[in-house]
Symmetry: none
DNA sequence: AATGAATGAGGATTCATTCAT
DNA sequence: AATGAATGAATCCTCATTCAT
């Protein structure tokens, strides 16, 4: 499971070395607690207990339960995007990039089931953070699609709707094949979805020497 | 907002006419309360208050807060499927059906924002109910795709993965264009998504001059 | 288990034959419910459910939960006393009567474990009824002891204290060997207690030809 | 009324001096509340109110209402046994010890009416604790009787039955003359019971050649 | 007489947050 | 910085009792 590196913005930044360590412990503990028990079941006591710190120490670094939660959601956003970006960086073209992105996403969900759950739950705990999470995704998608369209790699079409549709595909495949069950490999799933994204469902004319 | 008709199975079914009316009031109130405030913010008091009933009356018809919630989720499942099935019933082919289904879904989400929220939150309150909700969807999709493939309406491909991808598209477009903002009409969105589903992103040979 | 015959005083006496039957059913059901679950765990619903009657019917015959409970305690008093009196009636002397009474008491407790529990719990639910229960016992004991003393069957001594001591013996032996465990027969236990009551713990001179 | 010294085992033991004081206050308050109002009438609010603490503070030291109750019952067991043991320690022989024990018991019940009530009610709230309470007593009695029999201080007889009979005597005399009414002194009552225990009810031959 | 729906007071328990040390 | 005791609002649920039918 990914550690939540202390990039977060807190007005209560630690000044000493010890403080930095404590903050990190709390962050990791919070990720585990929220991920395993969900926001409402999670408790500050659970977090500090996991971190081996006293209850009150939590409030030395955070303002509230919701605040850490939001911090973690944002952190997850960066982590997910980074993970996908790394994978897709060297894709030869946009359509291949889509397939690789889905594969990366499923793998990511699989590797971070608990943290992934945090993001989903954000919808009901910190809706703005949740929307931002996906809006940033959508924005990146849109740009990618627009650029690809400019390069002639994909057919012309409304980037916005396409972006959200593509996100939906990733998220649901991530949920179904990443989190719920691992009965198919990410590559398999990504191949199937990649084909759908590339060619759609329409029957395709038999390839090759048909006319030859 | 849709009324939650008392199709639910309760071991505490009302035996009188008056009881039937009260149950219905409670069900509607619960849908409103959960939808507006979310599961955790919602309170039994809030429900009975909306229903104009006494606190204890809730427990005349339900065992617990979670139980009504589950009942509502299941109810939503039936409602959504019905709504889509009705619309798609006369589609000439599967690909058209997909487009129409998406349009129906977005419209449905738009019309039942609150109830829709209930389903999503189920993931964190009654996960099994949530999974069932989507599994039933997926199962229907799978059958539809397999049949269409048999009829040659769509290209061959793995029905399971395709089903989940298609659900993801609907859900995210429903969320984005149904619940979050209404900046595009369901028809527009469905058209864009329908095109994606039909042909994918691949550049298509310019029509027309082909034969020239 | 003993049926609670409707000897109780209720201002809500049934007037019809059907009413009499319903009352009896409720009484039996109440005895079972209270006996099995204890006063606080017992519920009116539980009683009417056992009786196969509707909830509201309970209040056709009783004023409150406590009232039935009291009625049952009194009933138990009569039953216990009757049971012991029957057994002791033909005892040749008081000391034999004590032994026989203890045996009868243990057997009674064994046969009516649940109802017996009701009496004990009365101490915390209807203390006056509880005290009355034992006071009546004590009074009978006192008279018996005084009469026996007059007949020279027992040594002179304070009847009141003796009465309570003897009741304590019965009750605890009844609890230990009647209700908690049946590892000794009532006759065995009564023999041991009878000997204690007859001769106390003091060492007795070897009988017979001691001096021979 | 006896204070409930914090000998109890709690997994929530206080770690500071202040905590120790609060726990003690709560324990005393609980004893008073349970003793005066009985288990079911007693409320956590009543306890913390008496203790001058906030409602939630109760749960800093206890897991539940039942847990404190049990702790109190066990505490009472230790207290009662200690009290009697102290008194009986220097008894010259077993029969005298019995009389002294009864006297001590009645005095104890009189001095701790409320706590005594708690033990009795345990039968219906924490039956295992109640049985343990008396089993420990019975076990001590049994050993004492067996030893005395070995020393020839008492006549031979079944120690188990005798033990429960003797406990019954103490408990009922304690209830009648300790808790219910104080119309006789403990010494008087103990003398009467002591005589019964020593010699039983059988008529005793006129002493010595008294009449000669 | 019988039914069962409706009532609402009552209470245990949880837990985020504050604060004194 | 760290600690852990103290706080008290908030809520679910139970159930005896009443009442309209």
């Amino acid at each position: 499971m990914a550690k939540a590196t202390a990039t977060l913005v807190t007005d209560k930044a630690p000044r000493t070395e010890r403080g930095k360590r404590t903050l990190q412990k709390l962050l990791d503990a919070a990720a585990a607690e929220f991920g395993e028990r969900g926001y409402h079941e999670a408790s500050i006591h659970g977090i500090t207990h996991r971190a081996g710190a006293a209850l009150g120490t939590f409030y030395t670094y955070f303002d509230s339960k919701e605040q850490v939660f939001r911090a973690l959601v944002e952190h997850m956003g960066r982590l997910t995007r980074q993970s996908i970006a790394d994978r897709v960086a060297h894709a030869p073209d946009r359509i291949t990039a889509e397939r690789m992105g889905i594969e990366a996403f499923i793998e990511f969900a699989r590797a971070h089931k608990n943290l992934y759950r945090i993001v989903m739950e954000a919808q009901f705990v910190a809706e703005d953070a949740y929307r931002d999470y996906y809006r940033i995704f959508a924005s990146a998608y849109r740009q990618g699609l627009t650029a690809a369209e400019g390069r002639g790699e994909i057919s012309p079409g409304p980037a916005e709707e396409r972006a959200w549709a593509l996100i939906g595909i990733s998220v649901f495949l991530g949920m179904r094949y990443g989190v719920w069950a691992e009965d198919k490999t990410p590559a398999e799933v990504a191949a199937a979805a990649g084909d759908l994204i590339a060619h759609g469902l329409s029957p395709r004319p038999a390839r090759g020497g048909e006319g030859a």
